[in-house]
């Protein structure tokens, strides 16, 4: 199997606080990798460092054999890493279609003059992009709501739209930050199926942060457990479930020093 993302000894310090301490992970193409840990363990910080929002203090992030450690957020996205946010960040005044439309901007490769003079190239590309976006919305079950304002969608649909928007980028790697947040048992079961479907359809590799253990255990091939920025365990769901350190981190026990 091909490695798609390789993180080597990633460290991020905020002043004296060590938010991520020597984090390493390798993602194989076509797998789902879970990132779990108590609140404040540094999961979202890892996402923000991969996507270039934070500059790492040290360490290397390699994506498809390319060093993306010090790239800017938009460059990381253009390389093919899509993401969703823990606290939903949609373009809320705009319609559902526009949200996806925006994310497809890289496919609209006309220049400023073509846009202003409305050259035929512009029309063709826009039409093509629009069809693609509608197709994507159909797959994600948002087609009926395409013209609604994104901000007025029900919560579950907003989460889906965030995924749709990330997919419009045609990413190879998708980072999902708590996709099941606020969902009940049935909904999260549906989500697991949904994510599996998307993974097959779009040939994705997924790295996800999640608190719902049933989701993580049923979907991830491998899991990394973090506590206070440190990796305390990595392995298959079975190995994680029986790991002593993991139990301590979640249920309390002897202090794990940072």
């Amino acid at each position: 199997m091909k490695e798609i993302l390789k993180i080597d000894n990633l460290t991020k310090k905020f002043g004296g606080v060590c938010a991520i301490d020597n984090f390493s992970v390798t993602l194989e193409e076509g797998t789902v990798h879970g990132l779990i840990g108590p609140n404040g363990a540094g999961k979202t910080t890892i996402f923000n460092t991969i996507t270039g929002i934070y500059k790492p203090t040290s360490g290397i992030i390699e994506f498809m054999g390319k060093d993306i450690t010090n790239k800017k957020p938009y460059q990381v996205a253009q390389e093919g890493i899509g993401r969703t946010f823990q606290n939903i960040r949609l373009f809320s005044q705009l319609s559902v279609l526009e949200n996806v439309f925006i994310a497809g901007h890289l496919d609209a490769d006309y220049d400023l003059f073509a846009a202003i003079l409305r050259l035929s190239k512009f029309g063709k590309k826009e039409k093509y992009l629009r069809e693609n976006c509608i197709e994507l919305l159909k797959i994600l079950g948002l087609y009926d709501r395409m013209n609604e304002k994104a901000g007025s969608l029900p919560y579950g649909h907003q989460r889906k739209l965030e995924i749709a928007r990330a997919l419009a980028l045609r990413p190879k790697l998708l980072l999902l930050d708590e996709p099941a947040a606020g969902m009940n048992r049935d909904e999260s079961k549906e989500l697991v199926e949904f994510i599996n479907e998307l993974k097959e359809k779009f040939k994705l590799t997924i790295l996800m942060v999640e608190h719902h253990m049933d989701v993580v255990m049923s979907i991830c091939r491998r899991i990394t457990v973090l506590n206070f920025g440190k990796t305390i365990a990595e392995g298959t769901p079975k190995e994680i479930q029986t790991n002593k350190l993991v139990r301590e981190a979640y249920l309390g026990g002897e202090d794990v020093a940072c």
């Binding site: 996507t51 929002i53 800017k72 957020p73 938009y74 460059q75 996205a77 253009q78 899509g82 993401r83 946010f85 960040r89 949609l90 373009f91 809320s92 005044q93 705009l94 526009e98 439309f101 925006i102 994310a103 901007h105 890289l106 609209a108 006309y110 400023l112 846009a115 202003i116 003079l117 409305r118 512009f122 826009e126 928007r165 990330a166 419009a168 980028l169």
Partner: protein, 294 residues
């Protein structure tokens, strides 16, 4: 058409061009500027100097004014666009005032505080109408393309815009430069209509007037900006006797709009045939409800 009416229409046209620039910047990118009168001044003085001192044809002076405004916006944008919200606003305010003071200071070239006189009158009603149609078309086409969509994405959620691969710095710069070009355009037309310009014409009052017009018209709406400009330019003409209290009325209007209609007249909507149809349908439904109640 009487000269007076023609003059008012020309003034409305010039204001529309300047306001459209601010509308793209503030209404569609959410970058607030209190310095666009500075770009108007640059357009006005550059074009005036090109016409009078270098005997350039009007079209060249016009383009020259727009070009210099664009160049300065590029330099200024490089320095300031990295700043967040309010800090950016303060720098634009500083820029506007600096430009005015600098023009006063450069007496030998600009005529200083006494003003720059002897500009030939080249701006006609026809030229203004063409300019307005062109300005509206370019703005509309720009906003209804990936460029405009990317600006709206920055307005709505900058972090998410970054996450879908939008180079936010580049698109903010685009928005800022387009707004400067529009301001320069309006300034050049202004100079060649009034034939006499002074730095005070382009002070903070003018800048805030432009931004206030956009807010009243509604953020994210070109038609809202156009309607608001027309109304706000006509009002002082209609109410000549109280025209001195213009800024007072603006202030009251902004307070009323922000409390009663926070999105402005047309916030995030465009006036179009389907919009009017919807409105009529709603009104009809309202009447029908009343009848049924009665």
């Amino acid at each position: 058409m009487s000269g007076y009416v023609e003059g008012v229409i020309i003034l409305i046209g010039i204001n529309i061009i300047a306001v459209l620039g601010v509308s793209i910047l503030t209404g569609f990118t959410r970058l607030f500027s209190f310095g666009n009168a500075g770009f108007m001044a640059i357009g006005a003085y550059t074009s005036a100097i090109l016409t009078t001192k270098f005997n350039m044809p009007f079209i060249i002076s016009l383009l020259g004014g727009m070009f210099v405004a664009a160049l300065i916006s590029l330099a200024l944008g490089k320095l300031t666009l990295g700043l967040k919200g309010d800090y950016f606003l303060i720098t634009t305010l500083g820029f506007g005032e600096c430009t005015r003071v600098l023009i006063e200071f450069l007496d030998p070239i600009t005529g200083g505080a006494r003003g720059y006189a002897g500009i030939p009158q080249k701006t006609t009603l026809f030229i203004v109408l063409i300019s307005v149609v062109l300005a509206i078309t370019v703005a509309r086409n720009l906003l209804n393309s990936k460029y405009g969509r990317n600006l709206k994405a920055i307005r709505e959620q900058e972090i998410a815009a970054d996450a879908v691969g939008i180079d936010t710095a580049r698109f903010k710069q685009l928005s800022f430069t387009v707004s400067a070009v529009y301001a320069g355009w309006a300034g050049a037309l202004f100079a060649h209509y009034y034939m006499f310009i002074t730095p005070v014409m382009f002070n903070l009052d003018k800048s805030s007037e432009l931004t206030i017009t956009v807010v009243i018209g509604g953020l994210g709406s070109l038609t809202g900006s156009i309607i608001a400009t027309t109304v706000l330019t006509l009002l002082p003409e209609v109410l000549r006797s109280v025209a001195n209290y213009r800024m007072l009325f603006y202030g009251i209007a902004v307070v009323l709009i922000i409390t009663l209609r926070p999105n402005g007249l047309m916030g995030y909507k465009e006036l179009s045939a389907s919009w009017i149809k919807n409105l009529l349908l709603q009104i009809r439904r309202m009447f029908r409800c009343r009848k049924e109640v009665a």
